[in-house]
Amino acid sequence: MTSPSPQNSPPLIGADQLINLIGSARLDLSTEGAVQRGLARLFEEDQVPYEAEVILAPSDRIDFLIGRVGIEVKIGHPRRAILRQLERYARSDRVDALLLVSSAPFPSAGFELNGKTVHIVSLSTGWL
């Protein structure tokens, strides 16, 4: 029997920690791509193991997957379209929770889709 070496089992990071990490970062908000690049850099700096551009279903590719938390960045899309997309992601059995990372105003409380919690992370708060 072997126990996993520490290098092979990165510390698990939960949704709450991710919300704090992202919510306190000051990212370039000019485009969605800029935010995605910023987030990738943020995760690398904090040594958060992540997968990017993860295919959850043939037509669904989520921006980041960290453990079982899916992260989607949205800048400048109609709210309804965002909700439809998140709803599809929530069906995937690879995710337990979703983080919607956006500079657009959403109610901060979050909500549920398909029995999974969608947390809202405002990119604006970091800049206050």
Binding site: R80, S103, A104, P107, A109, W127
Partner: protein, 572 residues
């Protein structure tokens, strides 16, 4: 030989250029209007000789021995000046100990560096960010007797504050000149004039024989000789060897304004006004707008004319305590809100469909209405939050916008000692409010978000700034935080942003984030704090108008009660 060069009456005159050289010359010296032919006249500026020498390494120009000597001397002077500035600005430069600062006060390293730069070059546009102690930087230059007597020109409402600073930080004798009509002045080291009374004194300024002039809030001079104070300032500048202008207000955008201001501090550095327009500006309506403010800022700093530091500067970070932020969501309380929903709806519709003027007016009214409503809806929660801070033994700066909101705060804070510093208070009332905080006789000072500029002293007592209402502009928030987080503050300052999920806050928040991130992108080690010329921002108001229409129940019977109050603010 490709032409000839001569120096006449403070200008370089280039003539006899063959066509292809003339073409190239105009490309290099873009201050020369296209469509003109030699001889070209270029006003002498410190870097001009260096540029001409460089051009001549490709196209040799004929010149007399006198002109050549002049050119060599100018180039040598310029390079020596550049080296001195580079040395002063380099990170391994150790600022000297400057004498004359009255113990226990001191000048911090970044302030000494600014003072040393002024003493080295005799001219400085000091653009340090809010709260970095530009006043002390200027005083540090003259505290040991260098450059005296000095004249300081200030806005009337900070004249007392300047006298206070001079007495606190230096041993210099200072006289405040309050009247416009000249009268006998006591001999002094420093004379504090106001922009409003300087013109009355122009004929007798020569008797003071000032050697140094300090223009506080130098953007006052941006209209130059069109104004009486501008003409008076010019007379004053002509008497002085050393000039320093202080401002944190980014003034890079409007070409004529920055040109005018630079002319007071470092005359001729940007060439003639026409050359400046051609080199740096584009025409927009009646204004000359600087094409690339960042580049202009970098040029001014590179030449050692301007100096701007922000809190990100390592030397500054050593002396300014860190900032903490607290973001706290408070509930939306309908209780005090008495807004006319029907009026909101009509305004919102007009913003989206009205004529140009109707849209503008409706947008402003709607903005006002929604922001006031938002402020009111969270007022009691904000007051409760402030009460907690006071209970913990803290004095608090509370920032807001609307009278109606202040009224609720004051009512909800009854039992606490609250003083006001807003647009409605007179100068003596404001002074009393500030004093009450300093004496520990008040717990809370309510400051209007746009009234606090220049207010100093609160940092001795207060380390908590609460935003009970938000502003569209991140700069306004920074300005208020700067009341507490400035030189002299010994504690960590916390900025508390209280926001709610309703009304105008969500849109304001997303706007603030975008603006702040863009402003940050423009900042570079040289040209900090650049703001673009103000634009008409209809987009944000449309977003807000749409939100109003979508969140208000439709008139008529069918009102979905159970609908989740999720606002679609559209795309900011």
């Amino acid at each position: 030989m490709s032409g000839s060069l001569a120096f006449r009456d403070g200008s370089w005159v280039v003539s006899d250029l063959p066509g292809h050289v003339s073409l190239r010359f105009k490309q290099v010296f873009s201050g020369i209007a296209s469509g003109t032919v030699p001889p070209f006249t270029l006003r002498d500026t410190p870097d001009r000789a260096r540029d001409l020498e460089w051009f001549m390494s490709r196209y040799l120009l004929r010149m007399s021995p006198e002109t050549e000597a002049r050119l060599r001397r100018s180039v040598a002077d310029y390079e020596e000046g550049q080296n001195r500035v580079a040395r002063l600005l380099s990170s391994d430069y150790v600022p000297p100990a400057l004498a004359g600062i009255r113990a226990p006060e001191r000048a911090d390293p970044h302030q000494v560096r600014a003072a040393a730069l002024l003493r080295e070059t005799g001219r400085l546009l000091l653009l340090d960010d809010v709260g970095l102690g530009k006043t002390v930087s200027a005083l540090a230059a003259i505290a040991d007797g260098w450059g005296l007597p000095a004249v300081i020109v200030v806005q009337p409402h900070v004249a007392d504050q300047w006298i206070g600073f001079i007495e606190r930080f230096t041993e210099l004798r200072a006289v405040q000149v309050k009247k416009r009509a000249p009268h006998a002045l006591d001999p002094a080291d420093v004379y504090v004039f106001r922009y409003t009374n300087l013109a009355g004194w122009v004929d007798v300024l020569g008797q003071i024989a000032p050697r140094t002039v300090i223009f506080d809030e130098v953007q006052e001079l941006r209209h130059g000789a069109q104004t009486e104070k501008g003409r008076a300032a010019q007379s004053l500048v002509n008497l002085c060897d050393n000039r320093i202008g202080l401002t944190a207000t980014p003034i890079y955008n409007y070409g004529d304004e920055i040109f005018t201001v630079v002319e007071y501090i470092a005359p001729g550095c940007l060439g003639s006004r026409d050359e400046f327009h051609t080199n740096w500006c584009r025409n927009q309506g009646t204004h000359w707008i600087v094409r690339d403010p960042e580049a202009l800022g970098a040029y001014l700093q590179g030449e050692g004319i301007a100096l701007r530091r922000t809190e990100e500067d390592p030397e500054v970070a050593q002396v300014l305590p860190p900032l903490r932020r607290a973001l706290f969501q408070v509930a939306w309380d309908e209780g005090d809100v008495e807004t006319d929903r029907e009026l909101q709806r009509r305004l919102a519709q007009r913003v989206l469909t009205g004529s140009f003027t109707q849209r503008g007016q409706a947008a402003r009214e709607l903005d006002l209405l929604l922001r006031q409503e938002t402020g009111i809806a969270k007022a009691r929660a904000v007051a409760a939050y402030v009460r907690n801070l006071v209970a913990a033994g803290e004095q608090v700066i509370l920032g807001g916008w609307h009278r109606a909101v202040y009224d609720i705060w004051r009512e909800a804070l009854s039992g606490l000692r609250v003083v006001m510093f807003t647009g409605s208070e007179t100068q003596p009332q404001k002074k009393a409010a500030r004093q009450a905080i300093l004496d520990g006789a008040a717990d809370v000072i309510i400051i209007s978000l746009r009234s606090g500029a220049g207010l100093d002293g609160l940092q001795d007592r207060i380390a908590h700034v609460v935003f009970g209402e938000l502003d569209w502009s991140p700069e306004v928030h920074k300005q208020l935080v700067g009341r507490a987080r400035r030189r002299g503050q010994t504690r960590e300052v916390t900025a508390h942003y209280l926001w709610t999920d309703g009304g105008s806050d969500p849109v304001l928040m997303s706007m603030l984030g975008l603006k702040a991130s863009q402003a940050h992108g423009i900042l570079n080690p040289y040209a900090g704090g650049v703001q673009r010329a103000p634009e008409l921002d209809e987009g944000r108001m449309r977003a807000m108008a749409r939100a109003v229409l979508e969140t208000l129940p439709e008139p008529g019977p069918a009102v979905p009660v159970a609908e989740v109050p999720v606002f679609d603010w559209g795309d900011p």
